[in-house]
Symmetry: C2
Amino acid sequence: MALLTYHDVLSAADRIHHLIAPTPLLTSAVVDELCGREVVVKAENLQLTGSFKARGALNAVAALSPAARGRGVIGASSGNHAQALGLAARHFGAPATVVIPDDAPRTKVQGVEALGARIVTYDRATGRRDEIVHRLAREEYLSVVPSADSHPVIAGAGTVAWEMLRERPDLTAILVPVGGGGLAAGTCLAAAHRAPAVRVIGVEPETADDTRRSLTSGRRVRIPPPVTIADGLGHTRPGDLTFEINQRHLTDIVTVPEELIAEAMAVLWRSYAAVAEPSGAVAFAGLLATADRLPPGPVGVILSGGNVDWPRYKNLLDTAMTRKDSLAHAPAAALLR
Amino acid sequence: MALLTYHDVLSAADRIHHLIAPTPLLTSAVVDELCGREVVVKAENLQLTGSFKARGALNAVAALSPAARGRGVIGASSGNHAQALGLAARHFGAPATVVIPDDAPRTKVQGVEALGARIVTYDRATGRRDEIVHRLAREEYLSVVPSADSHPVIAGAGTVAWEMLRERPDLTAILVPVGGGGLAAGTCLAAAHRAPAVRVIGVEPETADDTRRSLTSGRRVRIPPPVTIADGLGHTRPGDLTFEINQRHLTDIVTVPEELIAEAMAVLWRSYAAVAEPSGAVAFAGLLATADRLPPGPVGVILSGGNVDWPRYKNLLDTAMTRKDSLAHAPAAALLR
């Protein structure tokens, strides 16, 4: 299969530009001082459907023939890709089916329902997700739109970093969350051409480190279904295409403990007035973990999504805020020296 | 004194453009369906210092002579103008003094400290604020930068609506929170020239309705120090300049109960991934209260700020979320028909 290139990202940007929300780069003087460098946060929590996934899904459905769209699309997702696919299908007049774990956040399921997609649930522990998708696709002649491991989805995801580097070509590093690896792979493609010197650093939850293990082994490793608050990153194995790209281009991969993800959510709330879901805060947690080891110069962080149920959000921020040394309530004066 | 005009807003936009953050217009398909129209939310919670106040303060300090800047600036504020003045003073190398009530939110006080401003506190109940400001200004030769009632501050605040109407000239109404009245007055100036047909609707907390009462009486009425969760809107009397402009140009003024402000904060969290402080959510509460009475067509809402302490934020959202009929967790599918 032909390799994806920067040109595919550029085409995706051209194709979806008028369909997506222009998301800002957020800044905070307090965080800049704390990290000893300028930090810009790409706010994909403000993207349509509340996550960057809208980009890949729109790009993928746009690429289907009218006949394929008429038969319908299907995808599996912990919730954000499901909403994205619902949006893309609705935009292009295609019926959509999404396969979602039965423990997906309520807010994500509601979003899918609101977009009119058919929902099929499964038990995450049994891992029969792909089986269900492929059976339904076969029986009903549906086109499968993977959440990460497909050309148009990776190219669409790459438009996030493409926009960041267009606005800030001086970034020296970009931190990106790694689940299925599509956002990381897209970021690599965008950076490799536009800013070859920029370091692309993947960030995984400690407990969901399938990509880190796979990069170490040099081949795709499968791990047991991980337990993490970052429900969007609970993958058991890197994608085929995404791993090939990430193995070649990713500068580094770091892992973060669950407490640091909650801490990152609290700092994003406090210093950026931004609502991040746990998966969406993982790259920022990576920043907090590595700020003193990064090269000098401005750094970009991808806040990938903001869909989270209130009870979970409240509990995670409460936990972070009650830690006396939390950065989320450190006296700002001290941080600003 | 010469009247302010649209030209002053234009000059302010020109002067501060490179100093402020470009804030996006947020959208939500769920809210659009709920309100039966397109709603765009101007996210000034993402402005530098976390509120629109940065605009007026930067415009005001920019207008001072180098000698006046060297002597220093002073202002009184419940917290957001204090942070804005701290930022503006730091940018232009001026020493800053801010007079803040002793019950101001901790996050706002920390923001002021971080910016290096001198803090003088007072008891809100005694209302000696202006006395303290003018005594210090006299004794130390400081230039007073009011939080709302001054030409450059109103013109700076007007750049919010100016940006909204530049991006969306088709808006039929703009909802704006009313405290001192500077943001409302600036919005009126921007709208009167660029979009004379647009309705500018001021929104006050029910308990802090000094401007509504004053508009009814035809003269500036003083009310007792109000009790409201919207700490930025607890004014006792409209400003002199701001009232003159608002009396002439404001289409309407509505008031909202405290519960609806909390509800608005919850909907902004849920549907826009946006952190709003109570004062910042008041205009959105006005939308929820009046959506069925507004003229057809797209509506703009100013989310004016996002500085709020976590315990208060958590309690207000908890209250809203536990109401069974809260829009913040109404099944989205129902809203989307």
